[in-house]
Symmetry: C2
Subunit: 197 residues, 2 copies
């Protein structure tokens, strides 16, 4: 079992890490186990977020019901919903890979400093992006319901609603992930390491 | 000058705080100064957020131009924009009071544990709320521009746009505040105190 120091990717160990060198083997095992559990939780959230955004993307993309029905690409807002879900889907896939790498090898894919800030920054921005797209989509869907579009082509409106709802679910799990990756950034700033023990 | 321990509101000082008791006076002064600067930054962000949300609220509330012009209350989404800005405005006002209290007295208004979690939780939720309202408002404003509403009453649409834009500005500063209050929560979890030194 390696000590937490062996797992860190920083070239220059911080004073607090140097200070921690003579800690007993038991401590590092606990730290490593806790970090592994923490990373597994992040992985589960990312998988859920990926699944929901994939479903939202597919539902919006296939939202065409014959030539007399409206098309999602006719509406700027629905194009925004599709793009936001696509971005979150691709990002979640990449981050799942990085997470699996970290859990299996015990080291981050990018240098530790870059990895914790990359994760947190993108989690925050993409969570806001997805919420923004979903809210805009909801507003458009409500407006369409008051017009003739939904009486003429009910299937189009129902499928848009489902896609938007799935987008909200993806946002929820991405938001939870951003809390956890934010905590890792906090640990990194305070302790000079993503370990919180 | 009081030591950081005197400023903490927790009844049971954590082991790390007890460990820090024999540190010299110099260290505690630096910690206190850094915390004061940090809190001042939060106060400035809160003031900016309050100003923008107040302006957005007033712009939306006064968005009536005669009896033949549409009224903001006719649209669910604009009511949502008004409500979200009102909530953020009142919350920012309360938090500014709490911030001034903390800077002047050196202790949090609520017990420290409650205060850090209260601040962070509400910052996050209200930032999401305000972004959601602004995005929905943007979507409705775009839809209105394509309809006859804006040709008939251009002033109504312009004033709505301004209100929504001010809402985005308020969100930006609330989002920045949530990062800072999130860091305080991180400090509290890791060190058992909102001090990060």
């Amino acid at each position: 079992m390696r000590s937490p120091q062996a797992l860190r990717n920083g070239e220059n160990p911080s004073p607090s890490a140097q200070h921690r060198l003579p800690t007993p083997r038991f401590h590092s095992t606990v730290a490593e186990q806790k970090l592994r559990r923490f990373n597994s939780l992040i992985l589960v959230f990312r998988l859920t977020s990926f699944s929901f955004s994939l479903a939202a993307f597919v539902f919006m993309l296939t939202n065409t019901h014959g030539s007399d029905s409206p098309h999602w690409a006719d509406y700027d807002t629905f194009r925004f919903v599709l793009a936001a879900n696509a971005i979150v889907m691709i990002y979640s896939l990449f981050e799942m890979g990085a997470s699996v790498w970290e859990i299996s090898r015990g080291a981050t894919l990018l240098p530790e400093f870059l990895q914790v800030w990359f994760d947190f920054g993108h989690d925050q921005v993409f969570a806001y992006l997805l919420l923004s797209a979903s809210s805009a989509g909801t507003s458009l869907a409500r407006t369409l319901k008051e017009s003739d579009t939904c009486t003429d082509s009910n299937a189009f409106c129902v499928q848009s609603d489902i896609s938007i709802a799935l987008g909200y679910a993806a946002f929820l799990f991405l938001g939870l992930t951003s809390l956890l990756s934010g905590f890792r950034v906090g640990c990194f700033i305070i302790n000079g390491s993503r370990f919180h023990l």
